[in-house]
């Protein structure tokens, strides 16, 4: 006797290859892009200063630090993890670079490059500590990165003695405050990071592995994906991109503040989640993150231009995150049915 089991009807909701990707991207991001456009239109009517080249550049530059850190964060969240330490890494990378560069002549190219290299090394090390703890020590990402959030911030305060450092070589400040063909460099830096992140996530074997690990860790492991290596690397990438954000921030301000980027991790996670990356793992995109951080940037900017009490800004950010998570949950539930 063979036992029979009812067969589930095969749904035929499909398209093909790249077109399928574009289709899911627009169906996932369509509402978000629409929201971004709608808010921009409303703001341009409400305040004449919104739709000006200088203000829009300003929005992007203000978003760039969050955006750059969010590129690495997207990788982590797609694996189903989380990195809370990014804000602290931004600060420590800038601060250690500042320490190394102090006393160098302000126009020395080499000094600035050394500063950037040191900042990246800081990001790499913190990322590796996070990654090693999550994989080989099998600790929970939330707790591990909460610990590094605290200790890395503490290190920043300790090495700086709580004092702001300023006056860096031009080559270091270039990333934050330089300009190419009239366009400020942070805009290019952010675009470059997003393009890189998108290519790695979509077109490399590593990117495929990131999605598989987040979608079903055990299935990925049994299918031969080196799960631990993948998890380790996403935290390293997150640390590195936070360090790049740290360089951009320090360069823009031409100074390293011990309290820099305090609470940045929440805005980074908000941008990623608003952009449609699922905290449960397995789903997400770099393009979505870009739209997500821009949306949050535009809302912040609009509130400032409208003269809204800055204390409400955070409240409204919270509401936006809540709405995004709710929408994500609802669409997931619809998928299950």
């Amino acid at each position: 006797m063979i036992r029979t089991t009812a067969t589930i009807d095969e749904s035929t909701k499909t398209t093909n290859g790249r077109r399928a990707y574009l289709a899911t991207l627009t169906s996932d991001l369509g509402p978000l892009i629409a929201a971004l456009i709608a808010i921009s239109i409303v703001l341009s009517f409400l305040t004449p200063s919104f739709l000006t080249a200088s203000n829009l550049t300003n929005v992007i530059i203000q978003t760039s630090v969050i955006g750059i850190a969010a590129v690495g964060g997207t990788f982590v969240i797609i694996t189903g993890g989380i990195d809370l330490s990014v804000g602290s890494v931004v600060a420590l990378a800038g601060m250690i670079a500042a320490q190394v560069m102090t006393g160098k002549p302000v126009d020395a190219v080499a000094g600035g490059l050394i500063g950037i290299a040191v900042a990246l090394a800081v990001g790499l090390i913190v990322g590796a500590v996070n990654g090693a703890s999550v994989t080989w020590l099998r600790l929970v990402p939330f707790i591990v990165t909460l610990a590094t959030l605290a200790s890395v911030r503490g290190l920043t305060l300790a090495v700086s003695d709580g004092v702001t450092k300023y006056g860096f070589p031009k080559s270091f400040d270039f990333l934050g405050s330089g300009a190419i063909a009239g366009i400020r460099v942070p805009v290019f830096a952010m675009l470059l990071m997003f393009v890189l992140g998108h290519i790695v996530l979509r077109q490399t074997t590593f990117g495929h592995q990131v999605f598989a690990v987040g979608g079903n860790r055990e299935a990925a492991r049994l299918a031969g994906i080196p799960v631990k290596k993948v998890l380790f690397l996403v935290y390293v990438i997150s640390g590195l991109s936070a360090a790049v954000a740290g360089v951009v921030l320090a360069g823009r301000l031409d100074s390293a503040l011990p309290s820099a980027a305090n609470g940045l991790e929440l805005q980074v996670i908000a941008g990623i989640v608003v952009g449609g990356t699922s905290l449960a793992g397995g789903r997400g995109s770099i393009v979505g993150t870009l739209v997500g951080v821009l949306l949050i940037g535009v809302i912040n900017n609009g509130l400032t231009l409208l003269g809204v009490n800055p204390f409400y800004t955070q409240f409204i950010q919270g509401v936006v995150i809540f709405a995004a998570v709710l929408l994500d949950a609802l669409s997931q539930r619809r998928r299950r049915v």
């Binding site: 006797m1 063979i2 036992r3 029979t4 089991t5 009812a6 067969t7 589930i8 009807d9 095969e10 749904s11 035929t12 909701k13 499909t14 398209t15 093909n16 290859g17 790249r18 399928a20 077109q203 490399t204 074997t205 590593f206 990117g207 495929h208 592995q209 999605f211 598989a212 979608g215 079903n216 055990e218 299935a219 990925a220 492991r221 049994l222 299918a223 031969g224 994906i225 080196p226 397995g282 789903r283 998928r335």
Partner: protein, 508 residues
């Protein structure tokens, strides 16, 4: 169907089930089952996987509503629902224990029903009753305040029994109580069950281990295909008769097996030990050969396959792939050496359900379709199309989400992924579980093709017809050990079942 035959029983009938029927979509799980259990009596309930034992007990516990039939406890009809069953004194101890590991033994015993007065817990009273129940199950030495998670597995099972006693259970159902136990613990459990019997409990013992049934039961009922096919006092049974009653059926020509050319030895496993379930397992497989691994649930078959593919670690023994004694380090390493494990649970372990067919097929083959770390989209598509075509996955596009496919098509996607990596050794765990008949036949055909192409296949199966119908050889596991290695012509259902349930051969 002679289940209605009158059985001479002593004592008052505490539990009676009459004409129980239960259907699920497409399957009639119970076809009118009758049974009676007097007080102070142990009833052994035996039968193959899928015979309906567990369904019957779920009806008894109120977890399922019967479509037809009545349950009488002391002659009174039992209303539907689990809480009615609990207040009638019915306790079911499932294989997967339901203890809360982070709570103390005492808290578990009284879970949700701690004795209290005016809203205050009466800890002293609770502790006394806990001690009493624990000593009755041979755990007098266990402090009621111990955290359950700190107890070894064998003792947790006894805690579960004590929990039933604390609730004044009079009808006790034990589902495979010794499946995870070592032999000295089995002896201990026997003692406890005998003591409970003296306390006039009515006990139903579901077991694949026939020696256990003969040791403990006063009578035994054999179930097959949803019916109680034979019910006799234990003295009127012997093991051979019981096995015959369990497997008596015609094997149809459902299986496309044919004599094949068998090559060199490609996989040699010896003395594998992987705690807790695999104790000493060995196996030899040749190129082009299909070796079936039989045994009952909990015999350690899945863990054996996982240990071979390095998905689980092993503490002793050797796995030689293609004559090389190098130890495989991980599933990734196993894949690179041509060994792939196809899991039983497609949803939890097999597929990324939210990803497309082509993404899923790419997973084990990323190196093949990429260069310098970049995936070649055209190759990825071609690979998926080839796998879909070869295995006949019914889909409109390789972009379809894996989670929306039927079970049979999901399994074909996994097989497509596995074969695309050109494995020398394929370890299939219950390859047709939950799959409809048509897709089953297709998967059998694919297994034969894969073997023809030279793959060595190891197949764990709980379905005897499949095990016997598809295997060139059948290896039987019993309590973590490989106890028999039978060529196809000697692997009959009676012989295999006998090995699987007793660990010994059938004397003829």
């Amino acid at each position: 169907m002679n289940s209605g035959q009158v059985m001479a029983v002593e004592g008052d009938v505490l539990l009676e089930m009459r004409g129980i029927e239960k259907s699920f979509p497409g399957v009639k799980a119970l076809r009118g089952v009758d049974l009676q259990v007097p007080a102070g009596h142990v009833l052994g309930l035996v039968g193959e996987n899928g015979a309906g034992k567990s369904t019957l007990m779920k009806v008894l516990s109120g977890a399922y509503d019967a479509d037809k039939g009545v349950i009488l406890v002391e002659g009174k009809e039992l209303p539907a629902g689990t809480s009615a069953a609990i207040s009638a004194g019915i306790a079911v101890i499932y294989q997967e224990l339901s203890l809360v590991n982070d709570m103390s033994v005492m808290e578990n015993l009284f879970l949700g029903r701690v004795p209290s007065k005016a809203g205050f817990l009466r800890r002293g009273l609770a502790r006394d009753r806990a001690r009493e129940a624990l000593s009755e199950v041979g755990l007098a030495a266990v402090d009621p305040d111990t955290r359950v998670g700190d107890l070894p597995l064998n003792k947790r099972q006894l805690v579960e029994l004590a929990k039933a006693l604390v609730r004044d259970a009079r009808i006790l159902v034990m589902d495979e109580p010794t499946a995870a136990l070592q032999s000295q613990d089995v002896e201990n459990l026997y003692k406890v069950v005998k003591a409970l019997k003296k306390r006039n409990l009515a006990i139903v013992l579901i077991s694949h281990h026939l020696e256990e049934v003969f040791e403990l039961a006063d009578s035994a009922v054999v179930m097959r295909d949803g019916s109680a096919v034979a019910s006799r006092p234990i003295a009127d049974w012997d093991e051979a008769a019981m096995v015959r009653a369990m497997v008596d059926r015609d094997l149809d020509d459902f299986f496309p097996w044919k004599e094949r050319e068998i090559g060199e030895i490609v996989l040699e496993v010896s003395g594998l030990v992987s705690a807790p379930l695999v104790r000493d397992a060995s196996l030899v497989v040749r190129a082009g050969e299909i070796v079936g691994v039989g045994g009952i649930a909990g015999a350690g078959r899945t863990d054996f396959l996982k240990a071979i593919s390095a998905a689980e670690s092993y503490s002793a023994g050797q796995v030689r792939v293609g004559g090389s004694a190098r130890k495989l380090k991980s599933p990734t390493d196993a894949l690179a050496n041509g060994v792939i494990y196809v899991p039983e649970d497609r949803k939890l372990e097999g597929l990324v359900m939210e990803a497309s067919i082509s993404e899923n097929i790419a997973l084990s083959n990323l190196r093949r379709i990429s260069r310098w770390g970049f995936v070649n989209a055209a190759k990825k598509k071609a690979l998926a199309n080839a796998a879909v075509k070869r295995f006949g996955v019914r889909t409109t596009s390789i972009g379809q989400m894996a989670g929306t496919l039927s079970g049979g098509n999901q399994q074909k996607v996994i097989l497509g992924r596995a074969t695309a990596s050109h494995p020398r050794i394929i370890l299939l765990d219950e390859p047709t579980r939950g799959i409809d008949v048509g897709a089953k036949a297709e998967i059998y055909g694919h297994m034969i093709t894969m073997a023809r192409e030279g793959a060595a296949i190891v197949m764990v199966s709980s379905e005897l017809p499949e095990l016997l119908g598809m295997s060139d050889r059948v290896v039987v596991m019993f309590r973590g050990r490989t106890v028999a290695d039978l060529p196809r012509d000697q692997a009959t259902s009676e012989i295999v079942t006998h090995w699987a349930t007793t660990g010994m051969g059938l004397e003829s």
